[in-house]
């Protein structure tokens, strides 16, 4: 049994890395059929695979098309396993509200950050792209978020990030949420200037930063 379990977890992990959605689904069904714990299969199988994908992305072996296809395989497996999770395994996650700031239509980077955060055990509320600053604050209040993640790819929309921090300050909510920023034109010095809690240069960095801020 232990051997079978290890093999199935490895298969799940490989299916994600190999971008093999079918195999991820098939193996997930096998996990259920064998009575293996769904939570463990996600953790040690699918999410493990996504971690490897993250490393390959860091090493510039994989790029965005590959990461997106891998994450499809991961989510396909998660869909099969999710109904078999026990209640207490679904809650308790740290929450992140994420979105691309108003005026910006680019959301490739944000989607990547979302995938990586979810893989790392965060509960991510994705507002999408072209989001007015106030909406980030509203959503963060509504869901009781720990982190607000702001992304932009355009210099013209950087001001919106400053605006989010300003709204939080004005409404005395600044201490309640960590604000992290990223995207092409953003730098650590810009993050410091607008009073954000952190800056991430890429999706893998965003996960490290998010973990640090909520630990």
């Amino acid at each position: 049994m232990r051997e079978l379990k290890a093999k199935l977890f490895q298969d799940l992990s490989d299916a994600v890395v190999d971008m093999d959605e079918e195999k991820a689904v098939e193996t997930s069904h096998q996990v259920i059929d064998e009575g293996i714990d769904a939570y463990e299969a996600i953790e040690k199988g699918l999410a493990h695979g996504m971690d490897r994908v993250g490393e390959l992305f860091d090493q510039e072996e994989y790029f965005i098309p590959e990461v997106l296809i891998c994450s499809d395989a991961m989510y396909a497996g998660v869909e099969v396993l999710k109904p078999h999770l026990k209640g207490d395994e679904q809650g308790e996650k740290k929450k992140v509200v994420i979105g691309v700031i108003e005026g910006d239509t680019h959301d490739i980077g944000k989607n990547l950050v979302k995938i990586m955060l979810e893989t790392s055990g965060f509960d991510v509320f994705d507002l999408g792209r072209d989001i007015p600053p106030q909406q980030f604050v509203d959503k963060a209040k509504e869901v009781g978020a720990h982190i607000i993640g702001l992304s932009t790819l355009m210099t013209t929309t950087m001001d919106g990030m400053r605006e989010v921090v300003r709204i939080l300050e004005e409404t005395n909510l600044r201490e309640q949420f960590k604000v992290i920023v990223g995207g092409g034109p953003i730098s650590q010095s810009f993050a410091d200037k607008i009073g954000a809690d952190g800056y991430a240069a890429n999706a893998a960095d965003a996960v490290r930063l998010a973990r640090k801020l909520v630990s």
Binding site: L68, D72, D130, T156, P185
Partner: protein
Amino acid sequence: MSAFSPKERLLRVLDKEKIDRAPVVCPGGMMNAAIVEVMNRTGHTLPEAHHDDTLMAELAFDVADYTGFENIGIPFCMTVEAEVLGSGIDVGTLACEPKIRQEAYPSVSQVEFKEPQALLRSGRINTVVQAAYRLARKHPDYPIIGNLTGPISTAASIVDPMSFLKELRKDKENAHRVIDYVSNVLIAYAQLMVDAGVKVISIGDPTATGEILGPKMFEEYAVPYLNKVIDGIHELDAAVIVHICGKMQSVRHMIPLIKGDAISTDAMVNLKRLKEDYPQLTTMGNLSTYLLEGGNYEDVSRHTRRLVGDGIDIIAPACGLSTSTTIQALQAMTQTVKEL
């Protein structure tokens, strides 16, 4: 008195002929300088100028006139192509550029292929072409630069970009068909601009970067379709500038394969070294747009002097300008080049 008109100077440098000094330009399109301050002074404003050829021409000239850039660039957005191909557009505001509201197709396999000539009678194509015609007649000493959204970015503006990126691997056949179709439309559009008097076409393709695609996909899709469009424009006897976004590291070795007459890059690329490694390239760029937005005259001037000193062939901003950049900051850049 300068030996060359701005038009002669830019065309000569793109043709690798001798010039008195580097031109300083801001091509338009993704990299336009329609800043709020210029529009407020002249009253020729966006978003109206996206739709009105007279206003578009006036604003394009205002930009050159107030900032000192040695070209006139149209249009002021990257959505003209996607709009005629069926995507929904949000036209933006004075300070915010137009954007894709909704891509036309969920997947590359669902794209409808239409006759390019019919498409070109729709949307804002004629606005841009008429503006080009007015400008070319009215300002014969200026090079009019017509801007194209590159084939990969246009394709990713008509097909949902997440699906599109995945399908570059998962449905290569249809991905190639869509990008090839888009390339044909771009060439036909470029022809209308050239016929109206545009001498230089600038292609910005922000989705076609090493960071997004990686070297394999860049080689499979970006290089051949950029070259297809470039070849098509060269046949029209116009010059081509290609702007490559991002750090470029993973695709740097492929840059010489791109057949444009000048390569423009983002601020993080060391253009001097690029030129040393590939002396055949005509380089353009790459003054940080954050520096420009910061607006400190001395900083802008110093960095501009460095670019000129490094032998960069055409001095230009590195990326899309913030619309809150000041006239003074842009003048610091253009005057520095002209006074050296």
